[in-house]
């Protein structure tokens, strides 16, 4: 880039566009990750969309409201809220090696 007028008028206000993982792969923030025991998971057992506390309480939007719920471990920060809020204790926090 040069000093020409045209070029510096490309840099106006500081703006942002949406991206996934703005802070990078935040999954690396913690070595412990939630693992769902599907044999206990309410919607999996009933086959009906229900419970989804793990989805509802997740501050990171890394859990899907699907049967079974999927967790985006690349971005899950491992806070453990889903484990605490699972009414049937289907989630445990386990050491997962990051890639």
């Amino acid at each position: 880039m040069t000093d020409s007028k045209k070029d510096y008028q490309k840099i106006l206000g500081s703006v942002q566009k949406p991206v996934i993982g703005e802070a990078g792969k935040t999954g690396t923030w913690s070595s412990k990750k939630p693992i769902i025991d599907l044999s206990k998971c309410t919607p999996v057992k009933s086959g009906k969309p229900s419970c989804f506390n793990c989805w509802l309480y997740c501050p990171e939007a890394v859990v899907s409201r699907t049967i079974p719920p999927q967790i985006d471990l690349e971005h899950c920060k491992g806070c453990g809220i889903c484990m605490e809020e699972c009414p049937v204790k289907a989630i445990t926090m386990e050491e997962v090696k990051s890639e």
Partner: protein
């Protein structure tokens, strides 16, 4: 406003007798400003009172957000501009200082907001009278700064300011200043232009950011690190690059300021020097008075008398204070012998701002003119013709003696009348 003037207000392209404040308000009306936000302060208040009147009468379709402080006024302006509207406000002195935090925000966000400033001195102590102290405090925040000398110039400069600020080669906020009371409350003939002609001159704003278009998701003014951010989705500049671009745009805006001024002159038949400074009887002059606003106006009277004494003296009245037109001033002053600067302000701790900035601008000349600065008229003290004449004589005398100093020299002080004043008679110290 009298009833006759009120009738005339319906008719554009008409000569009206207006105060400086009302000239500014008419310019906002005819620029079709979309959002106005302001807070009352003397001597600016009649600007926004008039605008409120225009809106109430249906003469201006604008949203007027009547905020609880000037800080909020400029915050409203910034957000409204970022949402895509043409935006303006007006203020004075403490109001401008309360806006201070938002001034670099508007510039850094490259928002073409226009402020009208009826200049007023800064407290303490309280003073509602004019000087340029408020105007000079914002010289380092990235705004284009104009100073006007009469009410027609206020009207014309406002219309130009919107066009300059909104030019895609610029995208910068601008402030149009004029002396409080001396212009803000003094009536003069002002020609209001035909609306169609103004619409031709000033097309609707085409903003570089527009939050109201929600189909394009944007974050605006986030934390911007010292670094360049590179991701697979793209690259983003660091703070340093944004500020470089701001400075370069300000520097190059001088050309656009001249261009818009010339276009205005062709279209409406009025010009103000070269749009950057006005020359008064400078052709044969070896000695030049350098000043702005009300001080230049007073100097116009003074040079008549000085010329009668045989001095070859003229005036350069600075219209564009930021970006500082150092190249143009250097070019103009390169052949001049003496410059006497009259500042209605002080860069406290140093000297008058016009004075020291001109000295710096001319430093690179091989043969530098003699320069002396005077302080005049702080807090609305009258700047009299005799003060200017005294200053010119004193400066020329000092130049002859080879005295050059940065020490401040005040004209129009009346210390001799204070022999019986002592603060300790009010407050006894322990």
């Amino acid at each position: 406003m009298t009833a006759i003037e009120e009738k005339k207000a319906d008719l554009n392209e008409n000569i009206m007798i207006l105060t400086g404040n009302h000239a500014a308000a008419h310019a906002f009306r005819q620029a079709k400003v979309g959002v106005i936000s302001a807070y009352p302060i003397t001597p600016q208040s009649p600007v926004v009172e008039k605008i409120a009147e225009f809106i109430a009468e249906g003469k201006l379709k604008a949203r007027f957000v009547k905020v609880e402080s000037e800080h909020s006024a400029l915050a409203v302006c910034c957000a409204a501009s970022a949402t895509g509207s043409r935006v303006g406000t007006a203020t004075s002195a403490h109001g401008l200082e309360l806006m201070y935090e938002m001034l670099p925000w508007a510039a850094g966000n490259r928002l073409p907001i226009i402020i009208n400033l009826a200049t007023r001195s800064l407290g303490a102590p309280w003073s509602v009278w004019t000087d340029h102290s408020d105007f000079i405090t914002i010289r380092d925040v990235g705004w284009i700064q104009f100073m006007c000398e009469n009410n027609q110039e206020i009207y014309d400069t406002n219309l130009q300011a919107f066009k300059i600020a909104e030019d895609p080669r610029v995208y910068l906020p601008a402030i149009v200043a004029y002396d409080g009371y001396i212009l803000s409350h003094t009536m003069m003939p002002v020609k209001l232009e035909n609306q169609d002609k103004i619409d031709e001159f000033l097309p609707p704003l085409n903003h570089h950011i527009n939050l109201s278009d929600i189909s394009q998701v944007k974050g605006i003014d986030p934390v911007t690190t010292p670094h360049i951010v590179k991701r697979t989705e793209g690259t983003a500049p660091g703070y340093y690059e944004y500020r470089y671009a701001l400075q370069k745009s300000l520097e190059s805006s001088i050309d656009i300021i001249k261009e818009v001024h010339d276009e205005f002159a062709r279209k409406f038949g009025r010009s103000y020097g070269n749009g950057i400074y006005k020359k008064i009887q400078t052709e044969d002059a070896d000695t030049i008075i350098f000043a702005m606003g009300s001080v230049s106006s007073q100097a116009r009277v003074a040079i008549k008398k000085l010329r009668e004494e045989g001095l070859k003296i003229g005036i350069v009245s600075l219209k564009l204070f930021r970006p500082y037109p150092f190249k143009e001033l250097r070019e103009f002053f390169k052949d001049k012998e003496n410059i006497i600067v009259f500042d209605r302000d002080i860069g406290y701790g140093y000297e008058g701002v016009l004075s020291y900035e001109l000295k710096a601008a001319l430093y690179s000349l091989k043969e530098r003119p003699n320069i002396k600065g005077f302080i005049v008229g702080l807090g609305g003290r009258d700047v009299k013709t005799e003060h200017i004449i005294t200053g010119v004589h004193k400066a020329l005398d000092e130049f002859k003696q080879g005295i050059f100093t940065n020490e401040t020299d005040f004209l129009g002080l009346r210390l001799d009348e204070l022999s019986d004043y002592d603060e300790s008679t009010y407050f006894k110290r322990g």
